[in-house]
């Protein structure tokens, strides 16, 4: 006991100040960049130039910014879905699979085609695709939800495994039925199955030329608003919160847990499915083997970083979109994953600050005995 100070860690007994969660998250992100800077220094890089380049690549032009939003869109939708499930402590890490199945279902409209692609109004086609995408993702969420609710099958395992099933299910149809001349992709969708992009209006507004921003982001924003309403204003949201806090108490209060587990899983899956639709219809314009760059898993991180808050999810997915876009420009490409991992690690660790008070106290002089 020679140190004049020591750390005292105490459980918080009083309320956490409202600003603290935000402060710790922002602090954690800044710290993550500082640590990344240190690593860059150690490997002989120049952190200031690197981050400057990072910043430019993500926010340097309207085109770059639009790219960021395009990347953020699926993350937002998936992050919202995961956040909803996490509120109920359902660890849905199957968004990747639900995304693929949603993309597949949506693609059926132009690929089969389910309706005449020439004569049907564009908004009807898009609406059908969006609904089918959500249906596909929802059904794919139903499977782990049902297994969890009825047989208490661990959703972590079932959703993780179903991800692989979804990828290969997709591949099967891409290769066997819809292949474009034997390549691992389907033919390009008819134009009527494309989500409108700003670039489509380049003739009216010159500045829009080459801007790939598409309507999907609006889906994301609307979804964020709806989820917020559900969680903080509706009866269903109250039930979800209660189950999340204490399922025993929820059962005692007369809430049907089985039904809610299944419904929440389906909605969570539907949002991932909608992300899949938005991606094939707004970006790729065809179904192919790798339409997701791990969106399903990044979405889990996004949801956590946003502390399951729908509006914070918008901000965090934007930040992650920026990281993805900037990460493309940087070699070695691992840096992006490194920063992402560091952020996640620090933000989750920073929760300690919310639950415990850490104080530096002067060590009392040893009692005279």
């Amino acid at each position: 006991m020679s140190l004049p100070y020591h750390l005292r860690i105490q459980k918080r007994t009083e309320e956490v100040p409202r600003w603290l969660p935000l402060a710790t998250s922002v602090g954690a992100i800044i710290l993550a960049f500082l640590i990344s800077a240190l690593i860059l220094l150690l490997i002989g890089g120049d952190p200031i130039r690197t981050f400057g380049y990072f910043f430019n690549a993500a926010f340097g032009s309207w085109g770059a910014l639009s790219d960021v939003v395009v990347k953020a869109t699926p993350l937002l939708l998936i992050g919202l879905g995961c956040g909803l499930a996490f509120r109920m402590r359902l660890w849905n890490i199957g968004a990747e699979g639900q995304f693929y199945i949603g993309a597949f279902f949506a693609s059926l409209v132009p690929l089969v085609p389910l309706v005449d692609m020439e004569t049907t109004p564009k908004f009807v086609i898009l609406l059908m695709m969006a609904l089918l995408g959500m249906l596909g993702g929802g059904l794919y969420g139903f499977i782990p939800g049902y297994l969890k609710a009825k047989f208490n099958v661990s959703e972590i395992i079932s959703t993780l495994m179903l991800n692989y099933v979804a990828v290969f299910f997709n591949n099967y149809w891409i290769y066997s039925e819809f292949s474009d001349a034997g390549f691992q992709m389907t033919p390009v969708f008819a134009k009527s199955a494309w989500l409108p992009r700003l670039a489509d209006y380049a003739q009216e507004v010159r500045a829009f030329s080459g801007i790939t921003l598409h309507l999907g982001v609006v889906f994301g924003l609307i979804a964020a608003f709806i989820i917020w309403i559900i969680m903080s204003r509706s009866r269903w949201g109250y039930e979800i919160n209660l189950i999340g806090d204490n399922p025993q108490a929820a059962r005692y209060a007369g809430i049907n847990i089985t039904r809610n587990v299944i419904l929440v899983f389906m909605l969570s899956g539907a949002l991932a499915g909608l992300a899949g639709m938005s991606e094939v219809s707004g970006v790729v314009h065809r179904l192919q083997e790798r339409i997701s760059t791990n969106y399903g898993f990044s979405g889990v991180i996004v949801a956590w970083l946003a502390k399951l808050n729908p509006f914070a999810t918008i901000l965090v997915s934007f930040l992650f979109g920026a990281l993805i876009v900037a990460g493309r420009e940087i070699q070695p490409s691992g840096l992006y994953f490194f920063i992402q991992g560091t952020i996640l690690f620090l933000v989750i660790s920073s929760d300690v600050l919310l639950r415990y008070k850490i104080e530096l106290v002067r060590t009392a002089p040893e009692e005279a005995k």
Binding site: E15, R233, S234, L242, A249, A253
Partner: protein, 526 residues
């Protein structure tokens, strides 16, 4: 201090030592201070345990009794203060230090491995036996020790096969085997039937005759009067009575020392005529969580304006009985609440029939600990007007509802948005009661409604239950406190191993018969 003491020892002449030893106290704790976040658990506490006495440590929940004894057992370190054990200055950094000085503690929650035998549990953590265990030899040793103190238990039995009382004996044996001279028992009678309590008392007296010293933590005045030689009372971390002789005080004074004000032991129970049958349980059987029969063919009726008390030792099917009535556990048979069968129906069915449930487990079942006060208050009414408006919840109405209840039931909480895990046990229970009673229930299933609460809170909650009875609610009161059952109930039924083995009007009930029925020694001839 320590150095000086050693000098003293050296100067003490050998002839004087036995006398000196006789005079030293077993334990002397001086000026103990320990702070927990937000509370001063021990505020300059002094405690003296004489050699060869049974010393009761009395106080309400949260008064700091267990904290003080956990310090003596080496689990907590005091911020200031000194401890002397057998006259020697002791620094206790871990339970190991305490054990080496002959201090052993039997905790309220047993620390036993259910799948191991009695002997294995007793040997756990010891260096002897070594890698190769020759268990029969140790079984013999354990049996001898058990015999010496009248602690009947089979050394080769597995813990899960034992009753709670037997498990407690194992815990006591564990400390004796480790050579404890100073024994701390934390609320040892909470889990025992009256007869078992008597046996425990016998054992304690035997141990004292052997020269051991015992600290007996309790908040039950009757027991303390019965067994202890002297007592120390704690209130809110401070000593209010320091080692007084029991002959010098009466029950009322003790209660006052504990609570800090006069306590009335008389409940205002008015005569009341029961009305219609509200609850009709017909031939109900159910399994417990381990899939073993917990309820065997139980039938009874409960009327309006009547309190039926269910007496029994913990784990004889009481929890399961409450759960089948409230729809939380499947069962066989019929359970009619207002003539509607609620057996094997979702909990909602019973709730809609006007069933209120005060569950045994306040934080695990009765509340959502991380949710705010408002969220917890509306748990049973969130789907009804005015709080529910179509699909949405009016949080304005919810806050108003919660704030009314908070005021009416005098719930101490900083605000309506305080998470309920920040509330004290008494206030938490008030939250549950306020919520459950506010709906004007026809049937109240109350399980251990006053367990762990302080004397003041108990009084309030018991009066609330009586008030509901006078308002023509039917109350099923499941409790392990016989005094409480006798005070409140109109009728008392005894449950043993999942069967109702007897039933009396409260006036005719006597403790001895109930006690014998609770342990299965007696059942009413029908």
């Amino acid at each position: 201090m320590r150095v000086i003491y050693q000098k003293e020892l050296m100067t003490t002449t050998p002839q004087l030592r036995p006398l000196h030893e006789e005079q030293t106290n077993a334990v002397e704790m001086r000026d103990i201070v320990l702070r927990f976040p937000g509370v001063l658990a021990n505020d300059h506490v002094n405690f003296t345990l004489r050699r060869g006495e049974i010393h009761a440590l009395l106080g309400e929940n949260g008064a700091g009794k267990s904290t003080l004894m956990n310090i003596l057992a080496g689990l907590y370190k005091p911020e200031t203060g000194t401890i002397r054990i057998n006259g020697e200055h002791a620094v206790l950094n871990s339970p190991r230090d305490a054990i080496s000085r002959g201090v052993g503690m039997v905790h309220q929650h047993f620390m036993l491995v259910p799948t191991h035998t009695v002997t294995e549990n007793i040997l756990l953590g010891l260096d002897d036996p070594g890698f190769v265990m020759r268990l029969p030899r140790y079984d013999q040793k354990v049996a001898e020790l058990a015999d010496k103190y009248g602690l009947k238990v089979q050394p080769t039995a597995k813990i899960w096969q034992l009753s709670v009382g037997e498990q407690q004996r194992v815990e006591i044996l564990k400390t004796l085997y480790r050579g404890a001279q100073i024994l701390i028992l934390d609320e040892p009678t909470a889990v025992l039937a009256p007869q078992e309590i008597q046996e425990l008392m016998e054992t304690l007296r035997l141990m004292v005759r052997e020269g051991k010293s015992i600290v007996f933590i309790s908040h039950k005045l009757n027991e303390v009067k019965q067994v202890a030689d002297r007592l120390t009372v704690l209130r809110k971390g401070k000593v209010t009575a320091d080692g007084i002789n029991l002959e010098d005080v009466n029950k009322e004074t003790l209660a006052e020392l504990m609570v800090g004000r006069k306590v009335i032991f008389q409940l205002s129970k008015k005569p009341h005529t029961p009305g219609e049958v509200v609850l009709d349980v017909q031939n109900v059987s159910a399994l417990n969580n381990r899939g073993l029969p917990a309820l065997k063919n139980i039938s009874f009726r409960l009327r309006q304006g009547e309190i039926l008390g269910i007496a029994g030792i913990a784990g004889n099917g009481q929890s399961e009985l409450a759960e089948v009535i409230t729809g939380l556990r499947p069962c066989q048979g019929r359970i009619l609440v207002n003539c509607t069968d609620v057996a094997n129906q979702p909990p909602k069915r019973a709730i809609d029939q006007g069933t209120a449930h005060i569950p045994e487990d306040r934080t695990g079942v009765g509340t959502a600990p991380g949710m705010a006060l408002t969220g917890n208050m509306i748990m049973k009414t969130y789907d009804r007007a005015p709080i529910s408006q179509k699909w949405r919840i009016s949080y304005t109405a919810a806050r108003e509802f919660a704030s009314n209840l908070k005021e009416k039931y005098d719930i101490q909480a900083p605000s309506l948005s305080t998470q309920v895990n920040k509330l004290s046990g008494g206030n938490l229970q008030k939250v549950i009661l306020a919520r459950e009673i506010s709906g004007g229930p026809k049937l109240i299933v109350a399980v251990q409604p006053t367990r762990g609460l302080d004397v003041g809170a108990i009084e309030g909650i018991q009066n609330l239950l009586l008030e509901q009875r006078d308002n023509d609610s039917a109350v099923l009161l499941i409790s392990e406190e016989l005094d409480e059952l006798l005070d409140l109930s109109d009728r008392i039924a005894v449950i043993y191993e999942g069967e109702l083995v007897g039933e009396f009007p409260a006036e005719e009930a006597d403790l001895k018969t109930i006690g014998l029925m609770m342990t299965g020694e007696l059942r009413r001839q029908e």
